[in-house]
């Protein structure tokens, strides 16, 4: 079946929309392969605007790996803004890929990467524009397999009705495996239609096909059980873990957009996983164990990526970048290599300690010392014990003093509000901490010109974490505490002016909480919100709390039951049949420990505490040091 480019029809609409460049593709290092010479074709979507989606590492990695495979093609698609959506509907232009502007419906797989649940409504827009039925049950042989991945796919139940399949964990190997299953099935003449294809995927044990599972409920609304409804389908579906990241040095050729995007840099993931054990952190829990990239691979990737892209900023990514066993050598090696050039380095996620100031100094060697960011997350010592963020006030003050004394003028502090067991005094503790930071900064720098910005996010309990049983704080409680904090800072004559406060109201967190810990019954609310015009829920100017509450009320769904209700140990959780490797008993014990202010160490430096991941998944911690150094490259 020939597939024609939609571009001529799209082109006529582009002069009428904002930032048309985001829809035309043609990025440096993008790939357009022949449709007819390939047999398995993927459309990959990041369900947000191009400016957010283009830099997404997950999509870029899969795009490159799939396109490297013979007879396989991958193209990208993003959420279109409402102005173009309206024109596409009026002119009958379907959802398109930006690479060759092919219709999404013509592909074999429509893979969507969800880093957050707030992309769900955008998925529905894309499906609808593509002409793919919203509900999986209504799809036919000509529709692609709609497949979800990304962190939110660890509980895909709220969107189960819209998905044909979901995969958990690292995508590199499973994307290849899925491609081969589809290729074989197509080569055999697609026996048994899409049902058989889904069955073959499900039998592999690594792909979750929601429709092969039935959910039964108790009369009180709790889940009674989730069970396969046909033989051959596994009871639990496991996550995927790539071991040896050095074998997967992607992205090799980063996409360089013409349009402006949120991250204008080349990013290298220096390790995956994190075992610091912060209890609120879903990413840390579901990506275990820690697997480092070696210093040599990091050095090679940075060099190749900078050359291939022309970016002048390099980001070293991970969940806690300063934890790499050879981060000091990496930082020094890269700083030496790029000394005197205009290539700058950044280390987005760091923890609080003195060592990091040395790192930061390395990274800013030929730049300015503007701002440093730390994330104590909890305002009081007790709160930090509950969330297992092992930072003492002393540590923090000592670290920021060092920073200020070495010429840094601005410190950013990240906190959360609405944490389990939190009381007003814990949030007011943030003001105390900020005051002490400024006081120490003034003493250390001998200047009154020091600033501190406090950013506060609302806490949302996430699946596969010890807080999966916790009651989420209501938005009233969160707003009340934030107001008290604001008043405390505003009333402070001595330090208040040096402290900036950034926060959002608590309402969006409630919707996020509903989607995070929701079950299949939440799907109809998502659909109703979308039908009512809900789009781009991650954007405050588009998000409407009222729309979500109205839709929930109409669907007779009790939002509090899903969010502010604490769960019992033995309640079946909607994602219990999806295996992140974490032992349920360990998670429960960690939840109990949290409530009792008991901390747990990092298993990289202390004995394994049996979270369950390594034995279940057949994985192990992979860390250095390798003892190698980066060779300086001559930059001409």
């Amino acid at each position: 079946m020939p597939v024609e480019s939609l571009f001529p029809r799209l082109e006529a609409l582009l002069p009428k929309v904002q930032k048309p460049i985001q829809y035309v593709g043609g990025e440096l290092n993008s790939t357009v392969k022949s449709w007819d010479e390939t047999t398995v074709r993927w459309a990959l979507m990041y369900p947000d605007a191009y400016e957010v989606g283009l830099p997404n590492q997950g999509v870029q990695i899969l795009y490159e790996i799939l396109n490297e495979m013979p007879e396989t093609l991958a193209e990208r698609t993003y959420a279109v803004w409402p102005d173009l959506e309206a024109l596409m509907r009026a002119e009958g232009v379907p959802q398109f890929t930006v690479d060759a502007h092919r219709p999404v419906r013509a592909f074999d797989v429509f893979g969507i990467s969800f880093s957050t649940e707030l992309g769900y409504t955008n998925m529905l827009t894309a499906l609808d524009l593509a002409g793919i039925p919203l509900e999986a049950a209504d799809r036919g042989e000509d529709d692609p397999i709609v497949l979800a991945g990304g962190h939110a796919a660890f509980n895909p139940e709220p969107i189960a009705d819209f998905l044909d399949a979901a995969v958990l964990g690292d995508g590199e190997q499973v994307a290849i495996a899925i491609t081969e299953v589809i290729r074989e099935w197509k080569a055999e003449g697609s026996p048994g239609g899409r049902d058989e294809l889904l069955m073959r995927l499900a039998e592999s044990g690594g792909v979750y096909v929601p429709k092969f599972y039935d959910v039964d409920y108790h009369a009180d609304g709790r889940i009674q059980r989730v069970a396969p409804n046909r033989s051959g389908v596994p009871w639990r579906v496991h996550k995927h873990t790539v071991m040896d990241l050095d074998e997967w040095p992607y992205p090799k050729k980063p996409l360089v957009p013409l349009a402006e995007t949120v991250h204008e840099r080349f990013s290298v993931e220096i390790f995956r996983g994190c075992t610091r054990g912060c209890r609120f952190c879903q990413a840390g829990m579901i990506t275990r164990p820690v697997r480092e990239r070696s210093i040599t691979t990091i050095g090679d990737m940075v060099d190749a990526g900078v050359r291939a892209s022309g970016f002048n900023e390099v980001g070293l990514l991970s969940l806690s970048s300063a934890d790499h066993s050879e981060i000091g050598e990496v930082a020094k090696g890269l700083a030496d290599r790029y000394e005197g050039t205009n290539t700058s380095l950044s280390l987005p996620s760091t923890r609080v300690d003195a060592f990091n100031i040395d790192l930061a100094n390395e990274f800013s060697r030929n730049g300015r010392r503007s701002g440093l960011t730390f994330a104590p997350e909890g305002g009081s010592e007790r709160m930090r014990k509950v969330i297992n963020k092992m930072v003492t006030e002393e540590d923090l003050i000592r670290t920021v003093s060092t920073a200020y004394s070495q010429g840094w003028r601005q410190v950013k502090l990240y906190f959360m509000c609405g944490l389990p067991t939190e009381e007003d005094v814990d949030v007011l503790g943030i003001a105390d901490l900020a005051r002490k930071v400024i006081k120490a900064g003034r003493e250390a720098s001998g200047s009154r010109d020091v600033r501190c910005t406090v950013s506060i996010g609302g806490f949302v309990p996430k699946p596969h974490t010890p807080f999966q049983w916790a009651a989420q704080a209501s938005h009233e409680v969160v707003d009340h505490r934030l107001k008290a904090l604001k008043d405390a800072l505003r009333g402070d004559k001595e330090y208040g002016r040096a402290i900036g406060l950034r926060y959002h109201d608590g309402k969006p967190s409630i919707v996020e909480g509903l989607l995070s810990r929701g079950d299949r019954r939440v799907g109809k609310v998502i659909r109703a919100v979308w039908e009512d015009g809900g789009r781009f829920d991650g954007w405050s100017e588009h998000f409407s709390y009222q729309r979500w509450m109205d839709a929930a009320a109409k669907a007779d769904l009790d939002v509090d039951w899903y969010t502010t209700r604490e769960r019992e140990e033995n309640e079946v959780l909607p994602w219990d049949h999806l295996d992140a490797g974490l032992d349920r008993e360990w998670l429960w014990q960690d939840w109990r420990d949290a409530v009792n202010d008991v901390e747990v160490e990092d298993c990289r430096w202390t004995p394994c505490y049996d979270c369950g991941v390594c034995p279940t998944m057949g994985t192990e911690i992979q860390i250095g040091p390798t003892g190698k150094k980066l060779l300086p490259l001559t930059v001409v």
Partner: protein
């Protein structure tokens, strides 16, 4: 490091890359300069930036161009043709470097006196277009309004238009010619303040004769340069530089646009 040489660059934005904004282009050029290892000079100061300056008024977002200009300062002497080839391969297809010459005396900006534009009007009625152009050419003044950064401005769009005519051609979509006939306007416009742009002339045609294109027009800047009074067309602004130095030049390639498959 001191500046060893200044180079003048003519580049095109073609096909779907006509939707780049000026900011998009300047980011792409900065990256291409790094990828191509061009020894670009940097400004002094707290946040040094590469010394690349854009000359003349950029063709608006959505308008293609065969004649955009920039100047780049380098710390080491470069062969203009090698630099042209290196920059061209480092830019995405559709942003194409056409010519590079070493700068000589005199300001390039002063030489960009006028532009030649082509406006393709698919599906437009040719007789109506001819009548509208006649009406426009016959008018003394054609006052138009346009929303600029400084708010709504009203100005004369007639005087700056040195010539305006209807030529026949065939329709193109995404760079592929079809056999459909298509109305094409061709005009030479003197650079003035406020700048009279092709869309202002189209507004003028609507005001003068009620002429409105049924689908969005495809506009291309064909050339910029000093006005050649003999031909009434812009001459090559690099002419002077070339007389003094040897420079590389490749002609714009006719059908090459960054269109889709």
């Amino acid at each position: 490091m001191p500046v060893a040489q200044r180079l003048r660059v003519r580049y095109a934005k073609r096909g779907r890359l006509r939707f780049t904004s000026h900011r998009d282009i300047s980011r792409a050029v900065e990256r291409a300069v790094r990828r191509a290892d061009v020894p670009v000079a940097f400004s002094a100061g707290f946040s040094p930036h590469p010394r690349i300056s854009y000359v003349g008024a950029a063709a608006p977002t959505g308008v293609a161009s065969e004649a955009e200009y920039l100047e780049i300062s380098v710390t080491r002497r470069c062969d203009p043709e090698l630099l042209r080839a290196a920059l061209d391969t480092s830019l995405p297809p559709g942003l194409d470097v056409l010519a590079v010459v070493e700068a000589t005396e005199g300001s390039l900006a002063d030489r960009l006196e006028c532009s030649a534009w082509e406006i393709r009007l698919p599906k437009a009625d040719s007789a109506l277009a001819v009548a509208a152009v006649e009406g426009f050419n016959a008018a003394e003044r054609v006052d138009v309004e346009r929303l600029t950064k400084k708010g709504l401005r009203r100005f004369d769009a007639r005087e700056a238009v040195l010539s305006l005519e209807v030529v026949e051609g065939t329709e193109t979509t995404a760079g592929q010619a079809s056999s459909q006939p298509c109305v094409i306007l061709r005009m030479v416009v003197r650079h003035a303040t406020p700048a009279v742009r092709p869309d202002d002339v189209l507004t003028g045609l609507r005001l003068v004769a009620g002429f409105a294109p049924p689908v969005p027009p495809e506009v291309t800047r064909l050339a910029q340069g000093p006005l050649d009074v003999g031909t009434g067309e812009p001459a090559d602004p690099f002419g002077l530089d070339r007389e003094v130095t040897r420079g590389g030049e490749t002609e714009p390639v006719g059908g090459h646009v960054g269109g889709d498959l």
